[in-house]
């Protein structure tokens, strides 16, 4: 099933006289359950692409079909509502809310969504905290955690509402290579176990190697789109 269908997606930033074509006619289909890496040099358009996939920004041209429906001209409110229900994000600098505990951070998407009662919200949050291996740290604050642990919490936060897609913009760029490895392994494990769709950007070769599909973009264009057999899956 196609989770995201992109047709000729273009994004142009205008700065006075200057025009930056951050995305220049992107065509891709992303299937549900994929574990996809977007790679490319700095300034190639990775963040712009993920923002558009995440409904944070609208393309200048082209169309995107989310899970069979086309979102167009939704306006700020409609885009917020769509993000609230269907999209999760993991960020390079974790971006946990410092005044909230681990559990409260993980609960946050569900609290914003306002669909479940507080007991169910808590149950799900604790389940996700356990899934990322942080049981026992529910009541800690982000400042008491290491970078790797913070990113685990961010992943739990992204998973708690069972989104259409989890978008992770350079999720390991702030971590040392061993921790980066652990985080990618964690995401990969969740992808395998729960079938969650991951799209992440990176320019870390090590991280790239774990992806089953690698889309390379350069100057806003897709220059390569290859299926791979990541080493961790070879043994299975």
């Amino acid at each position: 099933m196609t989770a995201l269908h992109l047709e000729h997606v273009t994004k142009v930033y205008r700065k006075g006289e200057n025009e930056v074509r951050a995305l220049d006619g992107i065509d891709i289909d992303i299937e549900a359950g994929e574990f996809l890496a977007v790679v490319g040099p700095s300034g190639s358009g990775k963040t712009t692409l993920l923002n558009i996939l995440g409904c944070l920004d609208a393309p200048t041209d082209g169309r995107i079909v989310y899970d069979g429906t086309e979102l167009r001209g939704l306006g700020e409110k409609g885009m917020s509502a769509y993000r609230r229900e269907r999209i999760s994000f993991v960020f390079q600098s974790y971006n946990l809310i410092p005044v909230l505990t681990v559990r409260e951070n993980v609960e946050l998407p569900l609290l914003i969504e306002r669909r479940l009662d507080s007991r169910e919200i808590r149950r799900r949050a604790d389940e996700m905290i356990a899934a990322v291996g942080l049981s026992g740290k529910e009541d800690r604050h982000p400042r008491e955690l290491s970078g790797g642990q913070e990113q685990r919490v961010a992943i739990a936060r992204a998973l708690v509402k069972q989104p259409l897609v989890i978008l992770a913009d350079e999720p390991t760029a702030n971590l040392d290579s061993r921790t980066a490895q652990e985080i990618v392994d964690l995401m990969h494990g969740i992808n395998a176990a729960r079938g969650s769709t991951f799209v992440f950007s990176t320019h870390d070769r090590l991280v790239m190697e774990h992806a089953r599909r690698v889309v390379t973009i350069q100057d806003g264009r897709v220059t390569a789109d290859e299926q791979r057999n990541p080493p961790s899956e070879a043994g299975k």
Partner: protein
Amino acid sequence: MGTLWKIAVRNTLRHGRRTIITAVVMMVGISVFISFDSMLAGLDRMAVDNIADYTLSSLKIRTPAYVQDIQSTPLDKGLAHPEETLAAVAAQGLPGAARIRFVARVSNYTDEIPVLADAVDPSADARVFKLAQSVTAGAWLSSAAPRSVVLGAELARELKLNVGDAVLVTAQTVHDVTNADEYTVAGLVSTPVPEVNRGGFFIPLDDARVLLDTPPGPGALVTEVDVALPRASSLSAAIVQGDAAARRLRAALPGEQIDPIGSLAASYLALRNAKASYALIPVIIVLIISAVGIVNTILMSVYSRVREIGVLRAYGMTSRDIRLLFTLEGLALGLAGSSLGVAVGALLDSLLIAGGIDLAAFSQGSLPISGILRGEWNPRTMLIGFIFGVVVSLVAARIPARRAARLEPTEALRFQ
């Protein structure tokens, strides 16, 4: 909303120093407002109590014609049936005293000073006014010592008169003939009302009637009956009580003009409103400062959390939610500052009420009143101060809250 409130309150607590400084500025503004108002109310209370105790009484009964012509202190417009008037007052269970006001000149045979004299019933007057208790030398008037007078202490000093000295009193009789007689100074009064000390002159009714050449006995001249009311718990309660007593007496004495303390002290009370608005000026300045503090505090909060705003937007909060989040921070600050302000205001109130301020320490008799100024409880003012503080915070928070709401999620997330 619950989540937003949680985040807002925790952020307010997290930036402890910023929050404390802002809240303290607000606290100062609101507590000054409250204690100032308490002091003003106390000052009013004191002034009106003094009016009731030493000059005008709590309620006056005169004829309408007399009040009309009050500037000339007429002697031909007295009460028609003074005994009935006094009986009606007594029937209400209230102490009343008959008086005649007349213009006189007091002389020590060398110098002469004009005064507004009060002819009083020595024993009844002592139940209505506190003059008898204010005698600092000699004694209050008594029927046992006829042809005696009591003077304000300042007046006596000016005329170099002492207890036991002879004093010459001149007045126009009811027939408009000048008459004079000699009396003995029985006592001197020193009251909290400088006006009484400087110009008070009291003479027994019987002696005055002789001087004014008006017959004694039933129906003898009385220009006013003064009535005392029990001490009320506050100024406004005193006014309400006075109005109620006036209504009852008007029913019993339909022909007379009955003025309770609220009308007697009207000019003084009108002055108070002017005073009260001046007192607000420093308070408004302090609250403007705290509004600026709140704008600044929340702006800093917005700028230090731009990426957090981006995350909340990415997870589906609308720009309205973001605006609400920072408005709630303003509200949290406002509630903290206002609560502190009311608490400190109440503390200052209680100090003002328990201890009071000795006005003599501040002015050498230049104030129209003297004695110990005590504050009054002012729950209404506390409520107004609290609400005002909260409203100011909410209004101040709008500026940074709108700025936060205008941030684009993509911009906010890119912010380093």
